[in-house]
Each structure stands twice: as structure tokens, then as C-alpha cells.
Symmetry: C2
Subunit: 145 residues, 2 copies
DNA sequence: TTATAATGATACCAGATCGGTATCAATCAA
DNA sequence: TTGATTGATACCGATCTGGTATCATTATAA
């Protein structure tokens, strides 16, 4: 099944949660885990990835927590996916062209590249500001039916 | 790395090869493996998958071999991908919506679905007739530099 | 100073997947 | 009968996956 990993899905939930909080406020991994129903230890691992990717800022200590490193208008779904998955390749030969021994004659290659490019463009078109506006709740139970 | 499996790449090569052969002629797994540089046993496994998916027709015995089940104008990249990978889900929650416990409030869900849909549409837009016309050679060495 | 609560960094685990190989049976033409 | 083909499995080691656990580090607050 051509799909992102579970962790990447969780990461999108984490960023969406942060985008829904008031600007400047900090959330803790524990809070996010409970509210967004993600295993606590996984949130920790995901936060590490997102932090080294530069998408979020973390603060240690008693009053520590997590906050977005940039305004949600400038964080796209593509960035989250690539922070967790690595490159959106679609086919490895789009990233390492020398692995296909048929390279000059292989006409499928162009197709993979084209489709990959528009896939990336579509992922980059989605900002978390847009997702946050779309009726999200700052804590999910508020609007749950 | 968000990518199809190696087998799926091979499968595309196999179908492209068949699309480049004269209509009605049969290729053997051995030939395809050598010409398209795929491990022989893998071609066998891939052929099985493609056959049960209805994309190719196989014939056993001495003069046996493999041929397309339909004209290449009617075989798309999407069909090949889904024959090998299963559904193009992008995120599992687009296929099994009940696994996301935040379902009604999760605004990311729509994004996954939309992007998945256009990805599928783009894969479905590519026919192997088009790929075959695009300068492919019936055996790759012919045009290799 | 001490207690507490948070992140950083690893290490570990069982199970699934991946890429590849191997084997034997069934089929068909020569 | 022989040989070449596909069908169907079974197997292998390596890697990935989803999840858990542990200890160190940092910072706030009593
Ligand atoms: S170059 Fe990508 S499949 Fe050949
Ligand atoms: S429904 Fe897909 S991530 Fe929530």
C-alpha cells in the first residue's frame, strides 16, 4: 500500500494542534499525546524530528514545551512529510537516477519525475494555517459530536 | 522515503517492454529479465501479480510467454502501481477512515484525500501507449548510447 | 537546595515488509 | 520423451515499523 508511515500522520496532527493554539503559547508532549490520541513516547520522538527539521521550537525545564518555529502560514504539509519520511521520491530512480541501468532509454522515468513533482507541489500548497481555519478546534473534544 | 517498491518499478519496465513488442507476439520472462535487467525470479513473481490483476495474459509450455491482455492505450501507470502495491492510499486513513480517532474534527483528513485523488488521477493519465511512443526501443540496447 | 516537570538522546523489542533466491509441479510444443 | 515455459510456494537475511523504556540534561518553583 503506497502510504506514508504512521509517524508522519501523527506529525501532521502535532503540527495542526500547535497551529490551533494561541500564538506564543507552549504545549507539552504529554498534552498533545492525550488530546490528539498519540502514544506519548512517539510524540517525543516525532518532536525531536520536527525540531531538528526546524519546524518547531522546544524549551526544556519546568515550564518547557513546544511551539511552532514559524507562523502556520509558512508551514506546509510537504515540509512535515519530508521531515519524517525523507524525500518524496515516488520512485527511488527520481532521486538517484544512476540506479536504473536503462536510464537513457527508460521512458517511464520522465513519468515518475513529473508525477512526483506535482505531488510535491500539491503537498506544498497546503499550509497549516489553512488547515487550522478549516473548522479545527484547539482541543478536539470541543467540537466532537 | 515515500516511494513505491522496487518490484513496482520493475513491473512498469515489464509492461513497457511488452507495449513495445509487435501486437500479439509473446515475450518470455527470461527475455524480459535479460533485456530490462531485472532478476529473473523477480520477473516471474511480478508476472504472476500482473496476470491475476488482468493486465497480461500468459501461456505455458514450450512456445509459451507473456503478452498484454489489452491494447497499451488502455493500460495506465495507476493500474500497474495498484496491481503491485495495493491501493494508492497516501495515508491509511483515506482507505480506513475509522482508524483516526479524531475523525470528525481532523481537518488534515480532507487534505490527504484530495492530494491522494489527484495523485491517482495523474497516474491514471499515463498510458503505456504514450510511454511506448516516447522514443522507447523494442530492445533497450538499440538506442543506448 | 530540593523537588518536579519538561525535553534530548539512545537503546531495545517483536513483528512486518523488502528484495532476492530456490524448488517443485503443471503445461504445452516439438 | 524432452525441454522450455509458467504456477505456486517457501525461504532467507536485512531493513523498516510502531511502540516502549531508560537515563541524562535543563529549567522552573517551592
Ligand atoms: S529510470 Fe526510473 S524506472 Fe527506469
Ligand atoms: S483522519 Fe486522517 S489524519 Fe485524522
Amino acid at each position: 500500500m503506497l502510504t506514508i508511515s504512521r509517524e508522519t500522520d501523527y506529525a501532521a496532527r502535532v503540527i495542526l494542534h500547535l497551529a490551533l493554539q494561541p500564538t506564543g503559547s507552549r504545549s507539552t508532549a504529554r498534552q498533545i499525546a492525550e488530546l490528539r490520541i498519540i502514544p506519548r513516547a512517539l510524540v517525543r520522538r516525532i518532536v525531536t524530528r520536527l525540531a531538528t527539521a526546524g519546524l518547531i521550537t522546544t524549551a526544556r525545564g519546568g515550564d518547557g514545551g513546544i511551539t511552532l518555529a514559524r507562523p502556520p502560514t509558512e508551514i506546509t504539509l510537504l515540509e512535515v512529510v519530508e521531515a519524517l519520511e525523507g524525500p518524496v521520491a515516488l520512485n527511488i530512480c527520481t532521486v538517484e537516477p544512476n540506479i536504473c541501468p536503462l536510464m537513457p532509454a527508460c521512458t517511464v522515468h520522465e513519468a515518475w519525475v513529473d508525477i512526483r513533482d506535482t505531488l510535491r507541489a500539491n503537498l506544498a500548497r497546503i499550509t497549516f494555517a489553512a488547515l487550522a481555519q478549516k473548522g479545527g478546534a484547539s482541543s478536539p473534544d470541543t467540537t466532537a459530536r
